[in-house]
């Protein structure tokens, strides 16, 4: 498929933006041919964004920045913003996807990893995103896969590990429990493994 011209892509982006839509700059750049075309498009859109009034941010954008300021993963920040416990999300997933309620703990474990940016969001089933999006009333897919801000600057000053850090590092180094022989429906929903 041939890429659209810079002029066409810019026109489409600018019209959508001025109409109050939220065109995704990443998607538009991806549609331009890599190299000069993409760079030119980025430059023209960038200057356009400086020249027109800023549109109101989406809630997802607000959550992305706030989460970074508060050193939280965005998906976790959104749930807290909604004043919901993780259990509520897990219960919603179990009910909506018709899962065995006895396996709620396993769903909880996967969701915990997902909302903390510790699970690759790519293979996660669309039904999971849809259920969580409905519950949290936001495009959660946009927020997933982003972890909290790394604590590099803060930890630079730590000469020794704290007791909590030591326990966390030991837990991270510990061998993982043996995986069940056959991945079940829950594994498939969160990892895509059949």
């Amino acid at each position: 498929m041939s890429e659209a011209s810079v002029e066409t892509l810019f026109d489409e982006f600018a019209l959508a933006y001025r109409r109050g839509e939220r065109p995704d700059v990443g998607e538009y750049l991806a549609r331009a041919a890599e190299g000069t075309e993409r760079d030119d498009l980025a430059d023209v859109i960038d200057r356009f964004l400086q020249a027109v009034p800023a549109r109101a941010p989406s809630e997802e954008e607000v959550v992305l920045v706030q989460a970074r300021l508060e050193r939280q993963a965005p998906l976790l920040a959104l749930r807290i913003r909604r004043k919901l416990g993780r259990r509520a999300v897990v219960d919603a997933l179990v009910a909506a996807l018709g899962l065995d309620p006895a396996k709620g703990e396993k769903v909880d474990d996967y969701y915990h990893r997902l909302e903390n940016g510790l699970l690759d969001p790519e293979p996660v089933d669309a039904r999971v995103w849809s259920t969580v999006s409905d519950l949290l009333k936001a495009n959660v897919r946009e927020l997933a896969g982003v972890g909290p801000e790394p604590l590099a600057a803060a930890t630079t000053f730590l000469r020794e590990s704290t007791a909590v850090q030591t326990r966390m590092m030991a837990a991270a180094r510990a061998p993982k429990p043996a995986a069940p022989a056959e991945p079940d429906e829950i594994d498939k929903l969160f990892t895509g493994s059949a």
Partner: protein, 170 residues
């Protein structure tokens, strides 16, 4: 074009709603950061740095003789530069610009990034076509009626104008 937004920014500033004022720019901060720093995670780092800097500027109680949006765009530019160059000199330049932009400073400052500056270098007709399209949201037929030209001719003027803007960007 910017009057309503600038007035709202002034109102928020006077009401002490600094977080809301900065939050209103999150979309453009993220968008511009992504355009400049293509990696989404790194772009979010830059956006975060922009927001932190804006918040700290407002916390100092500094008032500006330019609209707040101009300050926002300048901070984005410098933070992007800083991201690529990681140079202390960039931070000093930003400090100097912000001091110059503050109320009470008498230094010369050309900073307003309005739509007119976006159209700079185009002919009057090209500027009119782009303004009608992106400010008044008209299609080529409607623009043609206003300017007494065929839609196809308007399309050509529009394309030529965008090509010029693109060359200028390059």
């Amino acid at each position: 074009m910017h009057d309503a937004r600038d007035a709202e920014d002034t109102r928020l500033l006077e009401a002490g709603e600094k977080s809301l004022l900065v939050e209103g720019y999150y979309g453009v901060v993220i968008g511009r950061s992504r355009l400049k720093v293509r990696d989404p995670e790194r772009a979010l780092d830059v956006a975060h740095e922009v927001v932190v800097r804006l918040m700290s500027e407002l916390a100092r109680g500094r008032r500006y003789r330019v609209p707040f949006r101009v300050v926002v765009h300048k901070v984005i530019e410098w933070k992007v530069k800083e991201h690529f160059q990681r140079a202390k000199a960039i931070e000093v330049e930003l400090d100097e610009w912000l001091a110059l932009a503050s109320e009470g400073s008498s230094g010369e400052l050309s900073a307003d990034e309005g739509f007119e500056s976006f159209l700079a270098g185009l002919t009057e007709l090209e500027q009119e076509v782009l303004t009608l399209r992106y400010v008044h949201d008209l299609d080529f037929g409607e623009i043609g009626k206003r300017l007494g030209k065929e839609p196809n001719a308007v399309h050509q003027i529009h394309h030529r104008a965008l090509t010029k803007l693109r060359r200028r960007a390059a």
